[in-house]
């Protein structure tokens, strides 16, 4: 099989879903051919195939974009709405939280809302405080939404396809720094079920629970620590909410230690929820407290060295793992 980038993986998944189902369409700022197929080219080439009705370039109107996706979903279509950068969800939270997430429940199951909200973000590209945040915890706190993020091209293809299939809203987070990653193409029709984590690396001493770009850091650190005789199990959640509790708890019961890692700021982050859950349900298996690592609790800074210092550090991850397993 050919090697593909994450951008190509997402494009292929959307393309085949649009070919299979005339109810699938994309809308968002700059997504059509006239604007180059999206700022990160994820919808490149699709306008030529499916026309401007199915690749709708919109005004800069996030509330209208998400509202339109909600309405189309209620009418039985499967919109893929793009919010160019994740911080812009602040402009359309009412449509996501009060409408997309709740209409299935509030209607007594009559009006499910099958839609994907694609959005991109990431720290480390110099975009500053309003274009970089990982805001997954905002959505994980709301009942009625799936929150998904891939860490590699194969998962990107499979998770996107499964997200388009899902009969509920999905927040699909793409990390800017992962678009260029290359891996083997899993091929047409590939799906990764929502709510199912991957054991990205097996280990026996500690469970490292993470998702998205920080999976790469976790795997690199696990490689390094293996040389020192520390065996780290890396869990890539893939679906952040509702997450694969069974896989996480089974891993922690095996290793007896856990650490959560995410790019989002640490306080009240998804790591806190996962850590609390582990402590409630795996107390007897735990050999020490569950630790949490996250971004610095401030806005993402601009200057490159500040931004690099803001990001969860591999050195901190190594230190915390060593402290946890008693090998400091």
């Amino acid at each position: 099989m050919a090697q593909i980038t994450m951008t190509q993986a997402l494009n292929l998944a959307i393309d085949e879903a649009m070919a299979d189902d005339p109810g699938v369409f994309c809308l968002g700022e700059d997504v059509s051919a006239k604007q180059g197929g999206g700022v990160f080219k994820v919808t490149s080439g699709l306008t030529e195939k499916y026309g401007e009705h199915r690749i709708r370039a919109t005004p800069i109107s996030e509330t209208a974009i998400i509202g339109a996706a909600v309405g189309a979903a209620l009418a039985g279509q499967r919109p893929i709405a793009e919010i160019m950068l994740m911080n812009f969800v602040g402009v359309c939270m009412d449509q996501i939280v009060n409408h997309a997430a709740k209409l299935r429940f509030m209607s007594g199951g009559q009006t499910p809302c099958p839609m994907v909200i694609r959005t991109t973000t990431g720290v480390g590209v110099g975009f500053g405080g309003q274009h970089s945040d990982m805001l997954e915890a905002w959505f994980a706190h709301v009942a009625g939404i799936h929150v998904v993020t891939p860490s590699n091209p194969a998962d990107a293809r499979g998770l996107m396809r499964a997200s388009i299939d899902a009969n509920d809203p999905v927040i699909f987070i793409e990390n800017i720094l992962c678009y260029g990653l290359k891996a083997e193409d899993p091929g047409p029709g590939y799906r990764v079920p929502l709510g199912k984590a991957a054991i990205a690396r097996e280990g026996t001493d500690i469970s490292l629970i993470t998702y998205g770009r920080t999976v790469l850091d976790a795997l690199a650190v696990a490689d390094d620590l293996a040389k020192e005789g520390i065996s780290v199990e890396v869990i890539d959640l893939r679906t952040i909410a509702p997450y694969d509790e069974a896989t996480v708890l089974a891993s922690v019961r095996k290793t007896g230690r856990a650490i959560t890692l995410h790019e989002a700021v640490r306080p009240f982050g998804t790591g806190a929820e996962i850590a609390a859950n582990i402590q409630e349900k795996c107390w007897d298996s735990l050999k020490g407290p569950v630790r949490r690592i996250g971004g610095t609790f401030s806005a993402v800074p601009f200057a490159s060295h500040l931004e690099q210092a803001w990001i969860p550090q591999k050195s901190d991850l190594i230190a915390q793992i060593k402290a946890s397993v008693g090998k400091l």
Partner: protein, 322 residues
């Protein structure tokens, strides 16, 4: 003055009285302490809703607000299901999980009732976009108040609807109040419909208390949408004759304003039109008596209906929990 044929007029009258009698009944139940729920009275706005719904086909979509009783009952939600939902019963349209502010009944085209001012407009665009995509010929009508015209989503939705020529009708029921704030205290422009020009859209202001103005305006907006000519903003001038919600203080509504409203009450005016069309007092009374009988039976049914199981709080969250 545009002529309305006799059958259509009868249809509008029947829908108007259904809205009015439902409103009266709800207030009677609330005042008598029989039920204690949030209810947003529609007294004074009955004709606007009825004429708008009479201009639509059964398959057309409607998005309304918490003050949506008029659209909901006039579009034809079965009364037992409507009252069941309002009283939080398992027999309600949404199994008692939506309530008065979130009535949904896709079978009659009531797709969303939003409790958030102005949020319905962007969603209506999406319903209309689906119809434009799949060519099903439906139009979507979204109803909202003058207060909603000042929220960002209004402007975003109007611009997008016109840009794509979506088959949508924006019905602004200008009832002179946004929650507890009088029109002049929230907006300086004399009306809302003039805003349509800013988006290149057709906008009209009509007297919502005059059936000969409101119905033809709705009919034309629906015809334009259906013909692919794009959206229309119809501003229906009307009065909210009660407070923001049942039981709320409305001392902020000045007496001269209340007198003005009473003089413009759409119900006596519509009745006079009916008499002018040679309907008899007896015929009109019989229609109302029939509606009252249906409402009383539906209320009785809802009062005696079972409550939803407490397990329902876990259901319909995601498909997996359906």
């Amino acid at each position: 003055m545009a002529e309305i044929d006799r059958d259509k007029l009868l249809d509008i009258y029947t829908r108007t009285m259904k809205v009015n009698r439902t409103d009266e009944k709800f207030r009677e139940l609330l005042m008598g302490g029989k039920v204690a729920v949030m209810y947003y009275c529609v007294r004074g706005q009955e004709l606007v809703s009825a004429a708008a719904m009479a201009a639509l086909e059964k398959e057309d979509y409607v998005v309304c607000t918490y003050r949506g009783q008029g659209e909901q009952t006039a579009k034809g939600i079965p009364m037992e299901k409507w009252w069941g939902e309002c009283l939080g019963k398992a027999t309600g349209t949404c199994k008692g999980k939506g309530g008065t502010m979130h009535i949904t009944d896709p079978e009659t085209g009531i797709m969303v009732t939003t409790g958030v001012v102005g949020s319905g407009l962007p969603i209506a665009n999406g319903l209309a976009m689906a119809s434009q995509n799949n060519g099903d010929g439906r139009v979507t009508l979204v109803s909202f108040g003058d207060g909603a015209a000042n929220i960002g989503g209004f402007h975003e939705a109007m611009n997008m609807a016109q840009l794509y020529k979506l088959p949508v009708i924006f019905l602004c029921q200008n009832n002179r109040y946004g929650e507890h704030t009088a029109y002049a205290d929230h907006t300086d422009s004399p009306n809302i419909a003039t805003r349509a020009a800013g988006y290149g859209m057709k906008g009209v202001t009509v007297d919502g208390n005059d059936v000969h103005q409101i119905y033809p305006a709705m009919q034309e907006a629906v015809a334009r949408a259906r013909a692919g000519e794009g959206p229309t903003l119809v501003e229906a001038m009307c009065y909210r004759m009660m407070g923001h919600f049942f039981g709320s203080d409305f001392s902020y509504m000045p007496p001269e304003h209340i007198a003005e409203m009473k003089a413009e009450d759409p119900l006596p005016k519509l009745r006079q039109v009916m008499l002018d069309y040679q309907f008899t007092e007896e015929e009109l009374d019989a229609i109302v008596a029939d509606i009252d009988a249906q409402i009383n039976a539906a209320v009785e049914h809802a009062l005696n209906a079972p409550l939803p199981d407490t397990d329902e709080i876990y259901k319909d969250v995601l498909e997996e929990t359906a």
